[in-house]
């Protein structure tokens, strides 16, 4: 019987042995959770049911199980690998005996607990949420009655009148500046915006700036500024284009 064909029914896995190996190698199944002894038992049982002994199959199974055991040992004791390999055979035997004895004590402890659980199975008691935590005492901050009176008085005072002056502002029409800048550009091929804005109010300056943006949107002008906050130069676009065209021709 070939080892990979062995069907397994373990606590953590059910299926063929080769699938188990694949899952372990892909780290989709924690080898630490797999009882390797159960696998060996399953194999021996299958072997006993057969009349002929397949030595080659047995050898293959032994190699696979030995590899599994080694992987499992590395998995369970990753930090102890070096220490154990440095032990002499006698020391290793001592260490193994010590661990087995430790495990035996633990088994005795577990057996005692199991017995105790059985004995205590007729003890019923209330199980509920943890008791409520004590409520913290809420203390008022120290204060003087005069301060409280002052705070109430401040609330009773009439709030100051809100200024609505900004609602009366008249925004100058942008068309005025559009006409003005178009007229300027008909006379000159470019102008500096700062010079045009001189003597205007803030609102008029804003309207003038919007007018320049409007001209730019209509592809009538080009706007240039060497650096942030540097003077803005506004130039007629048809003049700029024709000069570019001339430059290209002469080149």
């Amino acid at each position: 019987m070939r080892a990979p064909d062995l069907d397994l029914d373990l606590d953590t896995f059910e299926g063929p042995f080769d699938l188990l190996l694949t899952l372990v190698l892909r780290e989709e199944l924690a080898l630490g959770e797999v009882d390797v002894a159960e696998i060996v038992l399953a194999y021996v049982e299958r072997l006993a049911a057969r009349e002929r002994l397949d030595l080659e199959g047995c050898g293959e199974f032994l190699v696979l199980v030995a590899s599994l055991l080694e992987l499992k040992a590395r998995d369970l004791f990753p930090d102890e690998e070096v220490d154990l390999s440095e032990l002499s055979p006698e020391e290793a035997a001592d260490e193994l005996a010590r661990r087995l004895e430790e495990y035996r004590r633990l088994k005795h402890g577990a057996a005692w607990l199991a017995e105790r659980l059985e004995h205590e199975s007729d003890r019923y008691f209330r199980l509920g949420p943890a008791p409520l935590a004590p409520r913290p005492e809420r203390r008022l901050a120290p204060g003087r009655p005069e301060d409280l009176a002052a705070a109430v008085r401040a609330l009773a005072e009439e709030p100051p009148q809100l200024s609505l002056a900004h609602m009366g502002l008249r925004f100058p029409p942008i068309e005025r500046f559009l006409d003005r800048f178009r007229a300027t550009l008909r006379r000159r091929k470019a102008f500096m915006l700062d010079a045009e804005l001189e003597g205007l109010s803030r609102l008029e300056q804003a309207a003038a700036f919007l007018a320049v943006l409007e001209l730019r949107k209509g592809n009538e002008v080009r706007i240039e500024q060497a650096a942030p906050f540097a003077p803005i130069r506004v130039s007629r676009l048809d003049i700029e284009r024709s000069s570019e065209w001339r430059t290209a021709r002469s080149a």
């Binding site: 924690a30 630490g32 959770e33 009882d35 998995d75 369970l76 004791f77 102890e80 035997a93 001592d94 193994l96 005996a97 010590r98 661990r99 087995l100 004895e101 430790e102 495990y103 035996r104 004590r105 633990l106 088994k107 005795h108 402890g109 577990a110 057996a111 005692w112 607990l113 199991a114 105790r116 659980l117 004995h119 205590e120 199975s121 007729d122 003890r123 019923y124 008691f125 209330r126 199980l127 509920g128 949420p129 943890a130 008791p131």
Partner: protein
Amino acid sequence: MENRPFRLITSGPLEALARTLEALLVVASAPLSVAELAAAADDDEARIESALELLAERFVEGRSGIVLEHVSGGYAFRASRDEAPACARLVERPVERGLSPAALETLAVAAYLGPVSRPDVARLRGVAADTVVAGLVERGLLTEAGREPGVGGAVRYRTTELFERIFGLESLSALPRLDDLGDDADSIRGRLEAVAARRGA
């Protein structure tokens, strides 16, 4: 003598305190220590212990459906063992139901050696303990108790008060000693050597 109804507590200063303790133990869902009872009853601990003795005489197996027990470092009421069948028809016991041998071994490790990390349990049992520990934490029998020293140290676990209650332990020191197995290491080593000798022959 007049056939009066059964009275749990007669009058008197200590009896009044015993009544208070009764009330506190009825509303508590976990065992209360003498100190906790003293704080809640606003009385001194010596008098609390005397009043508890009064209650222990009254709430005892065979005499009452409620039994006062000293468990998990405190005092708590539980149902009398005689009434267990009736209780079983009323309530489930999901915490301790179906505890596997692996779970009991893990509990033994935590109870005797705790706080312990999952790698500690795996080293002792020879099988990874992640699933078992997670199950015991979910049941409320184990709880986290810090981390192992060093950066990124593994989480350590210890048994809970519920563990002590379920196993009827006054404290973890009530666990039996396990060092009467002292000569086992030698006998195991002898057996190992015998096996090695047979294989070498």
